[in-house]
């Protein structure tokens, strides 16, 4: 053992030193010169990054609100080039926690606050309807709330029983803790559970993607995100539309909230003012949300 070690040490001396000599001191010096210049540059660039993020505000939370908040942020930043707004997803509960902890200046939630969370200051920025969607090729156009409940609880497993083709129903739901799921549970399911066999997707977009490619699927997403790749069902004859939400006929409606821990800071306040301004509300209306400000455009 000892001998082997000695051998190794000797080899070290023989091999390492010639390599150092062969490389020469010249190249070493250029390398360290390069480092000498590169490091401060690196630091400066990093610091520029720091400063920028210091003046920005972070908006985080519900993935239902996220795309709309992103749009508003873009609009706001084009009006105020010096402002920086970072919009992040994560989910309603994460948004509420982020608002509490200060990780985000503004939290986003697509569900109402529970009592323990009521310490936060909540502003409804818009209302959103939840649409029940199927594949465009599905012949069904209309289901009652009871029928939807039966499908999602797993009691009805075939489209035939709803007057459709003879195919098993693929239920698509959102994951536990999602604001959309909680609202759907409250408005449609009541005390019944969503079937454990349901496919679970973790965003509105993922649900839409699955439904648009599966002729037997049914799911629910934010009305503002319904496009022509999926079909929104009428519920007991009521088409999910802004008009029907406004006149109170369509009842699957939930608030989109901005959450603040205490008084909003100056910049967050200015963003909130923008979001509640008629022009921003008009933008939301165009995207399929229900504005909260009466006079829009």
């Amino acid at each position: 053992m000892e001998e082997w070690r000695n051998g190794l040490k000797e080899e070290k001396q023989y091999s390492i030193i010639p390599i150092l000599r062969a490389n020469g001191t010249e190249s070493m010096r250029t390398k360290s010169k390069f480092l000498l210049w590169f490091l401060p540059l690196f630091l400066i660039v990093t610091c520029m990054g720091c400063q920028r993020s210091r003046t920005g505000i972070t908006v985080a939370g519900s993935t239902s609100v996220e795309p709309f908040a992103g749009l508003l942020a873009e609009e706001y930043m084009s009006m105020h080039p010096e402002a920086h707004i970072y919009v992040q997803g994560g989910g309603s509960t994460a948004g509420i926690e982020a608002a509490f902890s200060g990780a985000a200046n503004i939290g986003m939630s697509s569900r109402n606050l529970i009592d323990a969370e009521k310490k936060l200051y909540a502003v409804t920025i818009a209302k959103d309807a939840i649409a029940v969607i199927v594949h465009p090729s599905n012949p069904l156009k209309d289901l009652s709330l009871d029928q939807i409940r039966e499908i999602f609880s797993g009691k009805t497993a075939n489209w035939k029983e709803m007057g459709g083709p003879d195919h098993p129903i693929d239920i698509v739901t959102r994951e536990e803790g999602s604001g959309t799921r909680e609202s759907f549970q409250k408005f449609v399911m009541g005390k019944e559970d969503i079937s454990l066999g349901a496919l679970v997707q973790d965003s509105n977009g993922a649900v839409r993607q699955v439904i648009s490619s599966d002729a037997n699927a049914i799911g629910y997403i934010s009305l503002g995100l319904v496009n022509d790749r999926v079909k929104a069902l009428r519920i007991s004859g009521v088409q999910p539309s802004l008009a029907n939400v406004n006149n109170g006929k369509y009842t699957l409606v939930r608030p989109f909230l901005f959450l603040f821990n205490g008084d909003p800071a100056e910049e967050a306040k200015s963003f909130l003012d923008f979001v509640l301004s008629p022009s921003a509300q008009k933008l939301l209306l165009k995207e399929g949300l229900v504005p909260v400000v009466e006079k829009v455009g």
Partner: protein, 282 residues
């Protein structure tokens, strides 16, 4: 020179220890967060419970444990024959000109981000399964096929190393005794490198059980006991991945507890792999 070397040695030692320290820290936090929940609902109800409804305080992860193993089993059914065939081809049969292209290509397979695998599975594989075999398409079968490809680089590189590490006398001896090339490969080289190959499969299993992103995209994530390969399923990792964003309180602790179970499974697999490859060394 001596002093300088000592200092460098110390610094390296410190860095090496810091990585272990971080591992210890992660382990500590997983356990600190997860154990209270397991104690609260009871280890049996947690591990063997069949219902996962966090909003009602039901935290049973048994279907996920089962699903994890189903998906992994499926991946191995595809990955082992393919991987072994590739290994034999690479180490024994390949013409050198092809090898220059083939080996980097296999390594590239490991460099593809898992979200790309998932996307490919979602767009290509899932509709194929739905249209030809039925079910929702988002299924254990789709997950297994994608995972089967993802574990190929692990299986191939490690078992090829095992084959290369064999003394050349094995092959020379077998050929000298009149065995054909194929007989030499199948009867002499593969059995001799067996423990290394098994270790590669177990490491592949570890990779399969730990894969998250691709699986979230193509398994469908339904929380129920799988009854066929066409069923949707949720594995331990995807349970954490899909729900962490929204989880709070007990729910979040339950996800950490899921992590503990995963931790033990991966530890057991890695220990087994290390044990097997050590036995080979002797």
């Amino acid at each position: 020179m001596q002093l300088q070397e000592k200092i460098i040695e110390r610094i390296l030692l410190l860095i090496a220890f810091s990585s272990i320290f971080i591992l210890a820290l992660i382990t500590f936090f997983i356990f600190e967060e997860g154990i209270p929940l397991i104690l609260k609902v009871g280890a049996k109800a947690f591990l063997l419970g069949e219902k996962w409804i966090p909003s009602k305080g039901l935290f049973g992860i048994f279907p996920m444990i089962v699903s994890s193993f189903w998906v992994t089993l499926g991946a191995l059914l595809l990955g082992i024959p393919l991987g072994l065939a590739c290994t034999i081809f690479l180490s024994e049969l390949i013409p050198p000109s092809v090898g220059a292209f083939f080996r980097p290509a296999i390594q590239l397979l490991a460099a593809i981000p898992s979200v790309i695998y998932g996307f490919w599975g979602l767009i290509v594989l899932v509709p194929l399964i739905r249209n030809h075999l039925g079910g929702p398409g988002l299924s254990i079968l789709a997950g297994s096929v994608v995972l089967g490809f993802m574990i190929l680089p692990t299986i191939i590189t490690i078992s090829e190393d095992a084959l290369k590490a064999l003394p050349p006398s094995y092959k020379a001896g077998a050929l000298a005794l009149g065995a054909t090339h194929w007989q030499t490969i199948w009867r002499v080289l593969i059995p001799a490198a067996r423990s290394g190959i098994v270790a590669s499969v177990i490491l592949g299993m570890g990779r399969a059980i730990g894969e998250t992103m691709a699986m979230i995209m193509i398994l469908g994530n339904a929380v129920k006991m799988p009854t066929s390969f066409l069923d949707s399923a949720r594995t331990l990792t995807t349970n954490i991945g899909i729900e962490m964003g929204y989880a709070s309180g007990d729910h979040r602790q339950a996800l950490f507890a899921t992590g503990i179970v995963l931790f033990f499974i991966i530890m057991a697999l890695n220990t087994l792999a290390i044990f097997l490859s050590r036995r080979r060394a002797r």
